[in-house]
């Protein structure tokens, strides 16, 4: 048995007939071919699968695709706007916020959400925000720095112009 799941992902409408048991992360990766979101621990612990459902980040390994029907999804592919990287993405470049890169999409989606609600977070707030996400390279220091960089370089100026501003 399949059901129709229609979602708007990063502004584009998609509809697929899928099994009700299909998890959102597999829907995004396997049905829609958007492989930026990573499928990690499968137990809602690691956070590499974090995407936004409507305005809130969610661990997409712990949501059925069916639950997203009729809703908007934002993935890491939707962070850049008009060809410009989001400040969070630029921050990860500037501050070496990734090593192997597996946790990075989830970290960045959570970071964007944090900054949308707390534009000037201190280190403790950043660490709390990403406390449900695991970097197996243990590169947390640089992840925190990357998010701080993004806080100090908000979107208004345009990320493209800011590239190389600071290290």
């Amino acid at each position: 048995m399949t059901i129709r799941v229609a979602v708007i992902v990063n502004g584009t409408e998609y509809a697929r007939d899928v099994e009700p048991r299909l998890l959102l992360i597999h829907f995004i990766r396997d049905e829609l071919g958007l492989t930026g979101s990573h499928w990690g621990c499968d137990t809602s612990n690691c956070g590499s699968c974090v995407v936004w459902l409507d305005a809130k980040p969610v661990k997409s390994c712990t949501l059925l695709a069916a639950m997203a029907d009729g809703h908007a999804v934002r993935t890491v592919e939707g962070l850049e706007q008009d060809g410009r990287l989001d400040p969070v993405q630029q921050g990860f470049i500037e501050c070496h916020g990734l090593q192997c890169g597996f946790c990075t999409p989830g970290m960045m989606m959570t970071a964007r959400w944090l900054l949308d609600h707390h534009p000037d977070p201190d280190e403790a707030q950043i660490r709390e925000a990403i406390s449900g996400q695991v970097c197996r390279c243990t590169g947390y220091e640089n992840i925190v720095r990357s998010i701080r960089w993004a806080a100090e370089h908000p979107r208004s100026g345009g990320a493209g112009e800011r590239a190389g501003d600071t290290a």
């Binding site: 809602s44 969610v58 059925l64 639950m67 406390s131 449900g132």
Partner: protein
């Protein structure tokens, strides 16, 4: 790769619609799904039908209604954590919600789902037991209420019958109350090794008598009003009118430390009473040794966390 087994999916559009969908056998309510879906992946739960209630905005509220705080079953953990009115009435909710899972999970996991999961290590069960909340359950025959202290029948087992739905939790709000929750976990977002929640209602002490040290028996502080020397009122701590103590992850029956609560009623609210209550709570719970620690360590935590929660609750009492 972990995937749930085959299941049908239905989306409820109203409470009545949800109840009609739940009348089918082998049906489970799907709210935040952050316990149910992992359990389905592991085949610990294998419902044939899921009824998604996430669209039921009528169950997603937190409001002060007269002398009751009403929390809809679909309120998210993050909603309770950010609710000013809940935090003012019961700081214990904010203490506990800061410790539930992680910020992302808290955006989706629901208060009602936590109670219905009835996991022995789940924080809110002890919290709602401590505050003596009442569960409001809707079914085909209407509404019924169950005290949270009678809601949990055992691990993963509640008073909710097939075809029923937890609609809201009501908490009596009374002046002179303070509350707190103390938890020890091994790392951020982990289940507790042990945790304790406390709610105290105090009455200002006037002319309360305290026994001199010489007449105390068994190291326990005397009950207020007992025989003994009179301590000047300005140095006398207030008296405990009622106490609620919830324990998490340590095998306390219904998540409650009933003997410690009984001990405290009528006693002066001082550190000595709280320490004694912690010892009684530890004596009457049944922690199991597991990967989070041996039994004696967990009992030690119950002693200390109960006393700390009581101290903090007393300090937060607003007359």
């Amino acid at each position: 790769m972990q995937v749930p087994s085959h299941v049908e999916y239905e989306r409820a559009t109203s409470v009545e619609h949800a109840l009609s969908l739940l009348s089918r056998p082998e049906t489970r309510v799907l709210a935040g799904g952050h316990s149910l879906i992992p359990m389905m992946k592991l085949r610990l739960a294998q419902p044939e039908v899921l009824v998604d209630i996430n669209g039921l905005a009528e169950l997603a509220f937190i409001a002060l209604d007269g002398d009751q705080l009403r929390i809809g079953a679909l309120a998210r953990h993050a909603d309770l954590l950010s609710s000013a009115v809940a935090g003012e009435c019961f700081p214990i909710f904010h203490d506990a919600e800061r410790e539930v899972a992680d910020p992302i999970v808290r955006l989706w996991g629901t208060v009602g789902g936590s109670l219905c999961q009835a996991d022995p290590s789940e924080d809110l069960s002890a919290v709602f037991a401590a505050v003596r909340a009442t569960a409001v359950i809707r079914g085909g025959d209407g509404e019924r209420t169950v005290p949270v202290r009678e809601f949990h029948l055992g691990p993963y087992e509640t008073a909710i019958r097939p075809g029923e739905l937890l609609a809201e939790i009501r908490v009596p709000v009374r002046p002179g109350t303070g509350s707190a929750y103390q938890k020890v976990a091994r790392r951020a977002g982990d289940w507790p090794v042990a945790a304790a929640g406390a709610v105290l209602r105090l009455t200002p002490a006037r002319g309360v008598r305290r026994g001199p040290r010489g007449v105390r028996r068994g190291g326990q502080p005397p009950r207020a009003g007992g025989s003994g020397g009179v301590v000047p009122p300005e140095t006398t701590p207030p008296v405990i009118e009622s106490a609620g103590i919830g324990l998490t992850a340590v095998g306390a029956e219904h998540f409650v430390a009933a003997e410690a609560e009984d001990f405290l009623v009528g006693r002066v609210a001082d550190h000595e009473s709280f320490a004694a209550a912690g010892a009684i709570a530890a004596e009457h719970c049944h922690p199991a040794a597991d990967q989070r620690g041996p039994e004696d360590f967990k009992r030690h935590l119950v002693v200390e966390l109960t006393a700390r929660a009581l101290r903090r609750a007393a300090a937060r009492v607003i007359p």
